[in-house]
Amino acid sequence: MNAPIKFYQTGTFTVGNRLLAPEQRSVQASPERSNSLNSGHRACQGCGEALGARYAIDAAMRATGNRLIACNATGCLEVFSTPYPETSWQLPWIHSLFGNAAAVGTGIAAALKVKGREQVRVIAQGGDGGTTDIGLGCLSGMFERNDDVLYICYDNEAYMNTGVQRSSATPPAARTATTMAVGPRPGASFGQGKNLPLIAMAHRIPYVATATVADLHDLEAKVEKAMGLRGARYLHVLVPCPLGWGSASHDTIRLARLARETGIFPVFEAVHGEVTAVTRIRRRVPVMEYLKPQRRFAHLFGSPGHPEMLAMIQAEADRNIRRFRLLEASEA
């Protein structure tokens, strides 16, 4: 086969690339990016949520020409970004409560509509606790009414702000302050938790997508796509948490990448409830490689460890790979 002349060293896997046409480069590669979440915030070292929020909001700011308003559920993101007297946000932003971000978003969108300012767009955002647990009622209502709000969930798989307690997004076997690493089946139980992207799809809203902080171009493309649509949209971003996962602060992006490459976290898009695209696994790896660097899974390893639970997690990943066709046909 003959090489396409457009080939470049790193493709779009890196944030930028001097060989890429400027319009193909990521928002984050640009010195003009809005840095919506500014320096000086109090997030932990290597915070995936701080990263994911800046990625997403900066992309939305570009997509809307900075005509954007954000509302935030209670949680790490809110606490570390706006402790009086300082805020890190560079766009109009409001925090109301833990469970009502989606509804506040609805209210803002309604106000903008009635004021004839619909060119200003609304994003509601929160962590997995504020989204999958306490905020699910308001979120589902927002979906069902198809309000003109993009809701972004930054999923770090537990209540980190309060000291790492289990949420309904906590994965099986994961240790938290409320799912101990003891007993025959330590950690969070299997066959539980919520798959919010699928729940969102069940509302048949215009757009649902998942993404991770490991694939910036994918995340930005999805935000841009979402901002190009009207109505209720949902973006679920996996954001590793060094504190809660017991991982090294420099492994944040690596773990997000492994979550995708193992099939643990399927990355896909759905329009009106139908899956329309999946991001294929590039270098498939066993779940071991993803779980090992996280102390929340430490009890699965060593002796005696829990090989049977590892097998169950691998089976879950394989199920995702089948269900979402995460491998090229040839590999699958």
Binding site: Q90, A103, G107, C138, R145
Partner: protein
């Protein structure tokens, strides 16, 4: 324009005259007819521009209102009872953020046992939420108070609850004078938010405030309510001057001049009380009524001024602080601190128990004779209570109280008492 309509529809028309831009609706008796009425007005285009949003809960209703208000829209919602409790967190949030949402509370009891009828337990439960709380005596006043509430709340950038008795007012057909749109427009200027979510001038609203500034924030909220003590009478006066009706204000005295006994109350029971007092006056009893229109801010000075001439004060209230007694009485007592006069707390009408002129007359006669219990439960069926207490004394656990009581009462379908 005079109309013979249901209280709920009178309020719906009043709210519509205030040109709300976002209305959040969630059904709960006895508030439902209000948002239904507004829904029709939006659907028909009579109220426009306005976003009418059918939310999935009261919690969402208040949350949507918060977002709308922060984004510069005039926001309204209505609720009652369990609904108010379900939105409680957002209720505190709206006032904490200083967002001038106006909300009708069609006062209703709080369960368990579940009970849809009227008393004041619901709004009283939110008395410390930082909201202003105005109580309506009649449907006319309910209508008028909503128009005043938007003006008051938006001036102070504080949310306002307009409380009207569920069913007794909301479902009562009576004569109301509905003002013309032009009159209301002249009285109520468009909403100019104190803070606004606007890309042209970004701000972060709702910061986390630590010990170093939290008390100050709270004090400033209190200072606003103190300001309201001045503004409420002024606004009521301006309203009277424009619309030719006395509505709202802090308190309203009826035949209190030189009265030895003054009955203090809120809401629709004031009407029945006035009739009762008239008859007692004819019988030569020196008695009057003090109606409290503004429960929050609580007009300590005005109440004191109105009561200090009397020899005894009877606080008749539809709210009850279990383990203590009266809720309103506590505040009235504070207003009277230092004064020596007989004070009675009368708990009445809980869960919709009818408050009749006869019972009031009987109770007030005892009060005038100073034979009334300091804490009186009007028309309480001691027979039933007695039996249950006996059972209690006999064995510690004797089954759910409500069921036992019903067994004692027997089936009393819609028997009129």
């Amino acid at each position: 324009m005079l109309k013979q309509i249901e209280g709920s529809h009178a309020v719906a028309e009043a709210v519509a005259l205030c040109r709300p831009e976002v209305i959040c609706a969630y059904p709960i008796s006895p508030q439902t007819h209000i948002v239904e009425g507004l829904g029709e007005l939006v659907k028909s285009g009579a109220l426009s521009p306005c976003e009418f949003i059918n939310v999935e809960s009261e919690f969402a209703a208040m949350s949507v209102a918060i977002g709308a208000s922060a984004a510069g829209a005039r926001a309204y919602t209505a609720t009652a009872s369990q609904g108010l409790l379900f939105m409680a967190e957002a209720v505190y949030n709206a006032s904490g953020l200083g967002l001038p949402v106006v909300m009708t509370v069609a006062n209703r009891a709080i369960g368990a046992p579940i009970n849809i009828w009227n008393d004041h337990s619901d709004s009283m439960s939110q008395r410390d939420s930082g909201w202003l709380q105005l109580f309506a005596e009649s449907n006319q006043e309910a209508l008028d108070l909503h128009i005043q509430a938007f003006k008051l709340g938006e001036e102070l950038s504080m949310p306002v609850m307009v409380c009207m008795d569920g069913f007794i007012l909301t479902h009562a057909y009576e004569r109301v004078d509905v003002p013309a749109q032009a009159e209301v427009d002249a009285f109520l200027p468009p909403y100019e938010p104190r803070q606004l979510l606007d890309p042209a001038e970004p701000v972060s609203i709702g910061a986390m405030v630590g010990p170093e500034a939290f008390m100050e924030v709270r004090y400033l909220a209190h200072a606003k309510q103190t300001m309201a003590l001045e503004r409420i009478p002024q606004i009521a006066a301006e309203f009277a001057q424009r619309f030719g009706r006395a509505s709202g204000g802090l308190v309203r005295a009826y035949r209190c001049e030189d009265a030895e006994t003054i009955v203090v109350a809120l809401g629709s029971v004031l009407g029945t009380l006035k009739d009762t007092v008239d008859e007692m006056r004819t019988a030569g009893v020196s008695i009057g009524v003090l109606g409290i229109q503004s429960f929050r801010p609580f007009p300590l000075a005005a109440v004191r001024a109105a009561l200090q001439g009397a020899r005894r004060v009877v606080v008749l209230e539809k709210s009850f602080s279990v383990g203590l007694g009266g809720v309103v009485s506590t505040d009235v007592r504070l207003a009277l601190s230092g004064l020596t006069l007989h004070g009675y707390t009368v708990i009445a009408g809980l869960g919709g128990r009818a408050i009749t002129k006869a019972s009031l007359a009987r109770m007030l006669a005892e009060a005038v004779a100073d034979t009334l219990q300091p804490l009186t439960f009007m028309d309480l069926d001691w027979r039933i209570v007695g039996r249950q207490l006996e059972r209690e004394a006999a064995t510690r656990r004797s089954g759910p109280i409500a069921e036992n009581l019903l067994r004692d009462v027997g089936a009393v379908a819609s028997k009129v008492r």
